[in-house]
């Protein structure tokens, strides 16, 4: 897949698995609604989705598993390996009602950095302050 682009997969996951690198895991999230009438059933379904069996099913249609226990599994395509290695340091997005506001703050920080309006330190300090405020709220 990556060879077709003339890129080694290391090009965009360089440093995977080291301290200085964190990828993002997620994008699709599975949640149990607090107001559902079928909480145990929902939980059973979530547990099933998180099982190796279900993750391998998903892998058949191209979804990279989120279980690091599947790293090196022979049931996965070989080119998944580099992404599986990323899982060691990958982080999920913050599960918080104000996540979109936090995302905005991070986006603003990086935009200001790239436009040269603020140094990385200033921009990220500002974002951290905003996000701390959002986390402090209930």
């Amino acid at each position: 897949m990556t060879e077709g682009l003339g890129l080694s997969s290391d090009a965009f996951v360089g440093g995977a698995g080291t301290d200085s690198f964190a990828g993002v895991v997620g994008g699709e999230n599975v949640v149990v609604s607090a107001t559902t009438q079928h909480q145990p059933e929902a939980l059973t379904w979530v547990k099933y989705l998180m099982s190796e069996k279900a993750q391998l099913f998903m892998a058949q249609v191209g979804a990279i598993p989120v279980l690091s226990s599947l790293t090196g599994s022979k049931d996965l395509p070989a080119y998944f390996e580099v992404f599986m290695n990323q899982l060691k340091t990958a982080q999920a997005r913050v599960a918080h009602p104000s996540w979109s506001a936090m995302d905005d703050a991070i986006n603003a920080a990086f935009t200001k950095m790239l436009k040269g309006e603020k140094t990385a330190q200033e921009a990220l300090d500002e974002a951290a302050k905003t996000i701390d405020g959002l986390l402090a709220k209930k």
Partner: protein, 317 residues
């Protein structure tokens, strides 16, 4: 028949007559209410009830999925909005938008109305042309302005560059201050036609005889405008000022599209676009409702002050 009984009889007759009349009034008044009913039902259903419901939402941390689990937070939503830097910035942006577009529309609208009031061939055509932007869709003209002011291939940039006025293309839609230029230009361009029609109506209500009398007295064009036209247009202009200010405070669709497509870092919001984002992107329904009510309060106060201090009758007799 004694005097007393006569009086009684008379009073009984009067009472009877009064009763009849009351009955007749009731009968007569029934029909108008029936006619008012459809409008009143629609008003209550689609305006009053949603307004009161959103007032209620504004005091809650509202759960849209299960409203009954919402938490009453008192005025916290209002306090949060007022201390939120993004909301404060949105108020400033909205005020700036109003300060530019309201005088812009009134000045250009009056100018256009004066031209359209003159007698010249093709007058109807021009009246139609000036009114065209008013009936266009906000969405479509905002998209058009986005093309015109595109940072890389926009026509405005290429014209400015070919005239040698700028060297580098300007990124109109990526800067919270610069984006006010396309936004206000759009607002003025779209509103001039409507303003002109209102002013035109005001102009046509001014009796020709006043200008004739002024001409006899030797007044020039400028004096006629300052002494006759402007004072007699005053009620029209005050009306426009109030209505256009309310319109400017409610600026929404153009800001919404431009904020969503550009990367303006929440710095170019208007009050309503921020309300929209808080409600439908951050799912903070209570906060959104509170912002709506804060805007309502601001609009009410501003309109009240404008009408109170500016409206007075001018009589030339």
């Amino acid at each position: 028949m004694s005097q007393l009984s006569v009086r009684r009889q008379v009073s009984a007759q009067t009472n009877q007559a009064l009763g009849l009349r009351e009955q007749r009034i009731q009968q007569r008044n029934f029909a108008p209410y029936l006619f008012l009913l459809p409008g009143a039902v629609l008003f209550v259903l689609f305006i009053l009830w949603p307004m009161l419901y959103s007032l209620r939402i504004s005091f809650f941390q509202w759960n849209i999925v299960k409203p009954e689990t919402s938490v009453n937070v008192g005025v916290q939503n209002y306090l949060d909005a007022l201390t939120d830097p993004i909301f404060q910035r949105s108020v400033v942006n909205t005020v700036i938008y109003g300060l530019i577009t309201v005088p812009g529309q009134i000045i250009f609208g009056t100018f256009v109305a004066l031209l359209l009031n003159a007698r010249f061939p093709g007058r109807t055509l021009f009246r139609t042309l000036y009114y065209l932007p008013v009936i266009t869709s906000w969405v479509i003209v905002t998209l058009l302005f986005q093309y015109l002011f595109n940072g890389q291939a926009g026509m405005v940039n290429s014209v400015l560059q070919s005239l040698g006025l700028i060297r580098e293309p300007i990124r109109w839609l990526a800067d919270a201050r610069l984006v006010m230029i396309p936004l206000t230009l759009l607002g003025i361009w779209k509103g001039v036609g409507w303003t002109a029609v209102i002013v035109l109506a005001g102009l046509q209500a001014i009796p020709e005889s006043l200008y004739e009398a002024a001409a006899v007295d030797g007044a020039n064009l400028r004096q006629c405008f300052l002494q006759i036209t402007l004072p007699l247009l005053r009620p029209t202009l005050v009306f426009l000022l109030v209505v256009l200010t309310i319109g400017a405070m409610n600026v929404y669709i153009s800001g919404l599209l431009i904020n969503r497509s550009g990367n303006l870092l929440n710095e170019a919001h208007f009050v309503l676009t921020w309300m929209d984002k808080q409600t439908f992107e951050n799912f903070n329904f209570g906060q959104g409702a509170a912002i709506s009510y804060l805007l309502t309060a601001i609009v009410f106060i501003v309109s009240f002050v404008q009408i109170r201090f500016l409206q007075r009758d001018v009589m030339y007799s």
